[in-house]
Symmetry: C2
Amino acid sequence: MSELAIIRDGALLAENGRVTHVGTEKELRNRIGPDWEVVDAGGRAVLPGFVDAHTHLVFAGSRVDEFERRSRGETYQQIAAGGGGILSTVASTRAASEAELLEQGRRHLDWMMRCGTTAAEAKSGYGLSLESELRILRTIRALHAAGPVRLAATFLGAHGTPPEFAGRTEDYAAHLVEAMLPAVVAEKLAVYADVFCEPRYFTVSQSRKIMLAARRLGLGLRLHADQLSSSGGAQLAAELGAVTADHLELVDAGGIAALAGAGVQPVLLPGSVYALGLAHYPPARAMIDAGLAVVLATDFNPGSSPTPSIPMVMSLAATHLKMSPAEAITATTVNAAQSLGWLGELGTFEPGKRADFVIHDCADHRELAYYFGLESAAEVFIGGRRCFRRT
Amino acid sequence: MSELAIIRDGALLAENGRVTHVGTEKELRNRIGPDWEVVDAGGRAVLPGFVDAHTHLVFAGSRVDEFERRSRGETYQQIAAGGGGILSTVASTRAASEAELLEQGRRHLDWMMRCGTTAAEAKSGYGLSLESELRILRTIRALHAAGPVRLAATFLGAHGTPPEFAGRTEDYAAHLVEAMLPAVVAEKLAVYADVFCEPRYFTVSQSRKIMLAARRLGLGLRLHADQLSSSGGAQLAAELGAVTADHLELVDAGGIAALAGAGVQPVLLPGSVYALGLAHYPPARAMIDAGLAVVLATDFNPGSSPTPSIPMVMSLAATHLKMSPAEAITATTVNAAQSLGWLGELGTFEPGKRADFVIHDCADHRELAYYFGLESAAEVFIGGRRCFRRT
């Protein structure tokens, strides 16, 4: 993860939205056709577009009220116990039309792209009823179809227990298995399923049932695991052959060994640790030492991680997870693409892959993680087309 | 600090770069002349420009190499002990021409303005010789003269002991008092003096001598105090009647009482705690409870706080200092302006003050601290002139 293939005075050629050649400017200069568009990066760092492998892209409203309450000392758990938290976003998302969801999702995607992201995973999970979950997933499909950012949809109906099932999580889990998952799959609205595996949300046993049903229906598995407690989430992800186990702030050594044994990729989300004002970050170094292909993602969501910025997450990784800037780049490009099955298309500069690249406003790739609070992307190209250019 | 005077559907009128009226759009509509330029903020939040009261604006190079080493586990103190840290930036800054310093300073200022800052304090301190300190201060003067961001210069010759005086900090302190301070004042290059009061940098006794000399020469006093140890810096600031005591991560109750008794404003710099990967933030709540007019600033510098973003600092304040979004706004506008003697000119919207205002890309002021990693400023006006507009 720490070795990047950096080409100084590099260049890439693209045709019909695909990379055809990668090398030095000197090597490739003669291959440029007379009528080709030449983009001069002016000595700045050019990277593959970031792949954000864990986002809650589509929801209505914000949770700035709760944010203010937390700044005054209330905890996330206290607010959730009082009916706030995920359920407050569920209420506003259920009340929103598909057009409103589309508009707000578009705004979130624009923020991500401004920060250099060109492909992302997007979860449902702020509906928690069949109808509203389908509306969210259709919104994700519409955002993907409109482009330019490529999206992969994950069904996270098991994000929490909806008010209609209050105190009956077991019944809601059965409803997910019997009604919601089949409907999502019938409409081909998701490629992954996810469960918030956590005491007070879904137990390991409930999570297993939902995940097994999803797997039978052909969905890939991603799992919110070991975020707020060490509860066996990582072991469950390994047992089920999940593609990823996400969060892992409180994973133990047995959990890391289980992930390594089963080839489950950890998706680390330091933005949520930061934004909740906590200090316990996931043990990234132990995972890298165990040979795991660590992924970093934003966890963009209105409650625990209101950042759409991969460079911000890279800053957190370098300062608080003790990952080097190079490791952070690997974790947000090639490793992230692999976790979404996109490695043949994205994540590196190789002939045949999509020409998704970003010119960052720095000469040294390490500055992406070094300066923080800035939007580094100067120009964003997706499929060879310029989609963003900053003033 | 927690009460903002928010005007819904508000408007302000400005003439010749000064605010003339502040009120609701309805109240002021009739006062708009036929040939006036009307700027429609479109329902977005409009705030006074941020005042960044602690920055190390002018230096050459970056410290991305050391940043990478720290991401691999070395500490700031280990790197400094090996000749890195402040002294590595001193070497590159001494080697830079005034034109190079001006160009890099210009770039830093542009970043700040993009984040909504319209006035700032700027310290020297990466020269540590008479000639190079004067060059830095002249660069600050040139940046201020070129505008549009208003700058106040602080002489921080006592930022560290230069190589020529290695092991002879006492002699360097005498040189500061006898040669450097008088030269800075003779050329009217600074309005404040500052000392890094910290064991292994300048002791309380050395700091007192330098500060007293600065005060005799008519400079206002700002003091780096109690950052890495609880060493009596706050008490010294109080004893000397300093305008501010800055950092204060490790200030004790006695120090807070001393600041309150003497009316010294604390300038808190959570960006440096974050960027050093530390967890001990300054006790902001105790200071607010003591009635202190707390200021928040970026501490922008290449070693310990490479962020030019006041909104990023507001995010840190809300998530890690338990300051409300409103308190964070007070701390970066009115309180910050007061700490620089600018309250008659800046920091609030009042008739007669400069028309320095920023349209932020949000409808609710609390979003500035809530979303993080984004540049929120959509349009920046300084002295009534539009100086930045984002695409």
